[in-house]
């Protein structure tokens, strides 16, 4: 079974992003970029499926500008077999990303498509669900366990009330939550090897997808800042303040 994994290049999760003074966007100039953390978990799961003999090939795809190659190479170093860059300089909405991925699903016919549950830049949490819908596939979102069982996959999902398990017909779309696994680090020899693994390039147009969005960003502003309050010296003082000053106890 082939596994297709979608990885996105985003701001590194350690960076505290700042809004541009003209309020048009956040400032990404000279900011450290990395693979979306949930996508790292997706790659790790795919590689584990291969190590278990469930997956035969792991194909990794990223949609973005040329620099997204870096994230594909990282995925190849982590154990993916081959990469596809869908190159575009435009910003891509989740719906457009889902359409592009649908085009690749039609071409590659994977048994499982793994995505992150959420990009940490847009915080959208939609692409996997949209892809599943467009491709007519079942979905296991926010996965904390993925068990392939014959022609089905059982996905345990992190939901607001606890955990839920769904049984999905294959092929299926799975989006990863934080507890699914702990991603490994790439070893130097693997990083060297990854440079020789195949990386194909295509474009949204090649896949018949027009890059467009009906949602325009009018402005981007910093959130209302909280100012730091005071330090209290004791639990006594804390409780007194909460009762008499803040009146929340």
């Amino acid at each position: 079974m082939k596994v297709l994994v979608a990885v996105k290049r985003v701001i590194d999760y350690n960076v505290k992003v700042r809004v541009k003074p003209d309020n048009t966007d956040v400032d990404l100039a000279n900011v450290k970029m990395a693979m979306n953390p949930f996508c790292e978990i997706a790659i790790e799961e795919a590689v584990r499926l291969k190590e278990k003999g469930v997956a035969t090939e792991v194909v990794v795809v990223s949609i973005g500008d040329k620099k997204s190659e870096e994230q594909i190479r990282t995925a190849l170093a982590l154990g993916a077999d081959r990469g596809i860059l869908v190159e575009t300089d435009e910003s891509i909405s989740s719906l457009t990303a889902a359409k592009i991925l649908k085009g690749l699903v039609d071409k590659e016919e994977p048994g499982i498509v793994l995505l992150g549950k959420q990009s940490i830049d847009s915080d959208n949490n939609q692409t996997g669900q949209m892809l599943a819908s467009l491709a007519g596939l079942p979905q296991g979102t926010f996965a904390s366990e993925v068990v392939v069982d014959g022609d089905k996959v059982n996905v345990t999902r992190e939901i607001d009330g606890g955990l839920q398990t769904v049984a999905l017909n294959l092929p299926a779309v799975v989006t990863t939550d934080l507890r699914l696994n702990e991603p490994r680090y790439a070893k130097l020899p693997d990083i060297m090897k990854a440079k020789r693994k195949p990386l194909d390039k295509t474009t949204p147009a090649d896949l018949g997808v027009e890059v467009a969005s009906k949602v325009a960003t009018l402005k981007v502003e910093p959130p209302a800042e909280r100012s730091a309050g005071i330090k209290v010296a004791s639990v006594d003082e804390l409780v007194a303040k909460l009762k008499n000053e803040a009146k929340v106890l």
Partner: protein
């Protein structure tokens, strides 16, 4: 113009977050219809009909919707949603699961997790873990939106008298099935609805030590939350995680115990009215958002707190 609100429920009770979604729908300014999709969910429909500002309730009562499987919900919402200008659901794990499927079927974008309604086509939503707030305008024919419950007051649960109408649309995609669930049982208030939340982090050291927090919580009627580190380490279950990728809370009082204050955690709690931090490291970033900071060993401070509240 008319808005379809997808009800959040467990087949017997309407979840309070739906009341906040109704408020967002009213801010958009349309007639509000609530869809209750489930199995044996008649009581929920009756509750929804009483919500102030709801004009109509649609009930899709069918085995296919019993567990709100996304595959079936997506088809149902896309089918019924064609007749509306706006479709809204709560930004819960449920709404986030099925609503994007409906949006894609309708070939429209989804606007996730809105915190403000500016007009019928313009909304604000946090991005980058809440480090920025984007105002976005949609020109899609149908606006599909998930709503952050804590950002909108609850509509009154009594006072309305909407007509209840059965819809007989059995969309069963037949590609997925419910295989079980493990729901956390707790007598404490629900995290996202509680007036007071006490959360523990890695500093708690293990799951047993969370007892210290439970004791305080039970004295003051608080819910208990956690940082990702505490959940990852197995101290407490995943449904207690507060943050960018966990639950968003905005209580009157949030007490962070042994939590450093990473941006991903702050994203889930910095809209709280009053924030208290108890941490032994006076440099911990959590103090930069805390109204009251106590630099102390939690193993001394929390038992003392329990005595004094």
């Amino acid at each position: 113009m008319s808005t379809l609100v997808i009800a959040e429920h467990n087949n017997s009770a309407l979840a309070p977050v739906t009341l906040s979604v109704v408020t967002a729908a009213k801010a958009i300014g349309n007639e509000v219809t609530v869809l209750v999709a489930g199995a044996g969910c008649g009581a929920v429909a009756e509750q929804a009909a009483k919500v102030e500002g709801v004009a109509k309730v649609l009930v899709a009562d069918n085995a296919a919707y019993e567990n709100q499987l996304a595959e079936n919900m997506g088809l149902l919402i896309a089918d019924l949603g064609k007749g509306y200008t706006h479709i809204l659901a709560a930004a819960t794990t449920n709404g986030k699961n099925f609503l994007p499927r409906a949006a894609a079927s309708l070939d429209v974008e989804q606007i996730s997790d809105i915190v403000r309604v500016d007009s019928a086509d313009t909304f604000a939503r946090p991005i980058y873990a809440g480090n920025a707030v984007a105002t976005v305008q949609s020109s899609d024919a149908i606006k599909v939106i998930t709503v952050r419950g804590t950002s909108f007051d609850a509509a009154a649960s009594e006072g309305g008298s909407a007509a209840v109408e059965a819809v007989d649309a059995a969309h069963d995609a037949g590609i997925s099935s419910f295989a079980g669930e493990e729901l956390a049982k707790s007598d404490r208030p629900e995290l996202t609805a509680a007036d007071i939340v006490i959360s523990g982090g890695r500093g708690m050291q293990n799951g047993d030590n969370f007892e210290l927090l439970y004791k305080v919580a039970d004295k003051i009627g608080a819910a208990v939350g956690a940082s990702r580190a505490a959940v990852d380490a197995g101290f407490v279950p995943n449904d207690m995680q507060v943050g960018q990728t966990g639950k968003i809370v905005a209580p009157q009082l949030y007490v962070a115990v042994g939590i450093s204050g990473a941006i991903q955690h702050l994203a889930g709690m910095k809209e709280s009215k009053v924030i208290v931090a108890i941490n032994k490291d006076e440099e911990a970033p959590i103090f930069s958002v805390a109204d009251y900071g106590l630099v102390a060993d939690l193993f001394e401070a929390v038992p003392e707190l329990e005595k004094l509240v």
